[in-house]
């Protein structure tokens, strides 16, 4: 009786282990399914012209399909737009985010800092579609039109909390002795921050920035209401502009362009996952 009971309990124990392993392994399946599908359907579209030419018009694409030829053109307009908006957003978000993170790390006790910290969480949790609406109200309406500026404001707002958090956390785990030593050598606080603390925290902040970029680069909804999209390569900041995820959305909705979805998605996916892996690798390396 007792032996039977023990065997029963051990069987249950083993069953749990197997269930955990099986279900955990199943969780990995979607990653490979998605990677596999996007890769298999998209790799033959990647060519030099795919990256250098803008999106074809629906008419051109239709003609090509009728003639049984591959659709001409590529996603260069999206790549340029993404880079332009991301660049503008990052140029502002990185310094402001680092300063704000430094503020939180230095004043963690004050009531104002706690409020800022809470608001950072709030902004980080805000759905990106809402950021899109707000930037539409803030920028698109007064400027009377969609623009690259509006898109970059949206990306800026989404990057900001991520950079603030990573800066704050990295600065907080630096040994206090580092700051004290700097101050003891007669540096004022600005100097110590600039010459001692920030360089020491560089790794953590850098990975945070990479992660922030990888998070926002695939954002679609907020750009739909701000950058809108544009079918040719353009560098103007006050005009509508395209972005890679916007193109994917466009291709998804246009039966003539559907073939281009997979190449564009493969490009975006590889870019995002590489940034992700790189930041993870760097974080590990710098932590040692």
């Amino acid at each position: 009786m007792d032996k039977l009971k023990i065997r029963n309990r051990l069987a249950k124990d083993k069953a749990l282990l197997w269930a955990v392993c099986l279900l955990a392994a199943l969780t990995a399946v979607p990653l490979f399914a998605i990677l596999g599908e996007v890769f298999l359907r998209g790799y033959d579209q990647l060519s030099w012209s795919f990256f250098t030419e803008p999106t074809p018009t629906a008419y051109k694409a239709m003609k090509a399909i009728e003639a049984g030829e591959p659709i001409p053109g590529g996603i260069a307009n999206g790549i340029v737009g993404t880079m332009l908006m991301l660049g503008m957003a990052a140029v502002v978000a990185i310094p402001v985010g680092i300063l704000c993170g430094a503020f939180l790390a230095e004043n963690s006790k004050s009531r104002f800092a706690q409020t800022v910290s809470y608001l950072t969480d709030l902004l980080q949790g805000t759905p990106s579609v809402i950021i899109g609406i707000v930037v539409y109200i803030w920028v698109v309406v007064p400027m009377k039109g969609y623009s690259a500026i509006a898109g970059s404001v949206a990306l800026f707002i989404m990057m900001l909390p991520l950079i603030i958090r990573s800066t704050e956390e990295t600065l907080k785990i630096l040994p206090a002795s580092l700051k004290e030593a700097g101050l003891a050598l007669g540096g004022n606080r600005a100097r110590v921050m600039l010459k001692v603390q920030l360089p020491a925290a560089f790794g953590g902040i850098f990975t945070g920035v990479l992660l922030a970029i990888s998070r926002v680069i695939g954002e679609t909804a907020p750009l739909m209401f701000t950058a809108l999209g544009c079918s040719f390569i353009r560098f103007a900041v006050d005009k509508p502009i395209s972005a890679v995820p916007l193109l994917i959305w466009e291709f998804f909705n246009d039966p003539n362009l559907q073939e281009l979805i997979w190449g564009a998605s493969l490009f975006l996916l590889l870019f995002v996952l590489t940034l992700n892996l790189l930041s993870k690798y760097l974080a590990k390396k710098w932590n040692q």
Binding site: R9, T27, L31, R191, T220, A221, W249, I261, L269, L275
Partner: protein, 285 residues
Amino acid sequence: MSDKLYKILLFAAALIMPIVCGGVLYALVTDAYDAFEHFGFFKFLTSSEWSYTEGAEQYGALPFITGTLMTTMLALLFCIPFSLPVALFVGEYFKGTRVASVLSTVTDLLAGIPSIIYGLWGFYTLRPLIMALDISPQGSGILTASLVLAIMIVPYAASLSAEFIKMVPNDLKEGAYSLGATRAEVIRRVVFPVAGSGIFSSYVLAIGRALGETMTVTMLIGNTNNIPDSITSTGNSMASIIANQFGEADDLRLSSLIAIGLILFLITAFINMIGKIMIKRARIA
């Protein structure tokens, strides 16, 4: 740079958060005002009409609130049987081993995939499967959206839960083993109760994520403006109706969409706040 200037600079940078967040709320409230004034706040929340025939415009948020709640809850339901095993795998069974770090890299990457690509995958792979299995004729709908949403939130729930499972003191586990418990019994009687509030809070935050997911849901939910009558029927979530109609809307419809945005903002802010507070408490305990 003097200390004083430095302090002012940092303070000025920190001011950006109240300004941005205040600006978000201000913009949403002022632009949603029209809709609330026209229909009445309570009526707007409870009306299920969404018609833009000129002259007889009628907008209500109920179908989308329902759609959001249904997709979120279903996604949570589908997410638990996978995220909990992943958390146990990483935080308990294979804690600190190479396989665990491989699995957590995999889930990190899952978290990194843009939502529009999840949408594509759902549309081109899952939707045909659902049609082939005869679950719903059109393939898209609440169920399809929830399934993909579940995959998207697994990484968040799993990594945070794993963190709390890892923190269960070894003393307690050994104490339980010394009384003759199996690992399964230790997990059930010690690990889960001790890490419970932390695990729970990680699901609250996962809900916060699912509520606002836009592109995936937009591509898969079927986009109909009715209250879904079953999990296989089509519908719209708060985020997806905005994504679908914001570009073409003006006047009262635009204001109504912004009003839906405001409601969504308040709900996610509330859920996230609760989640964060619970996490802080769980970390201290």
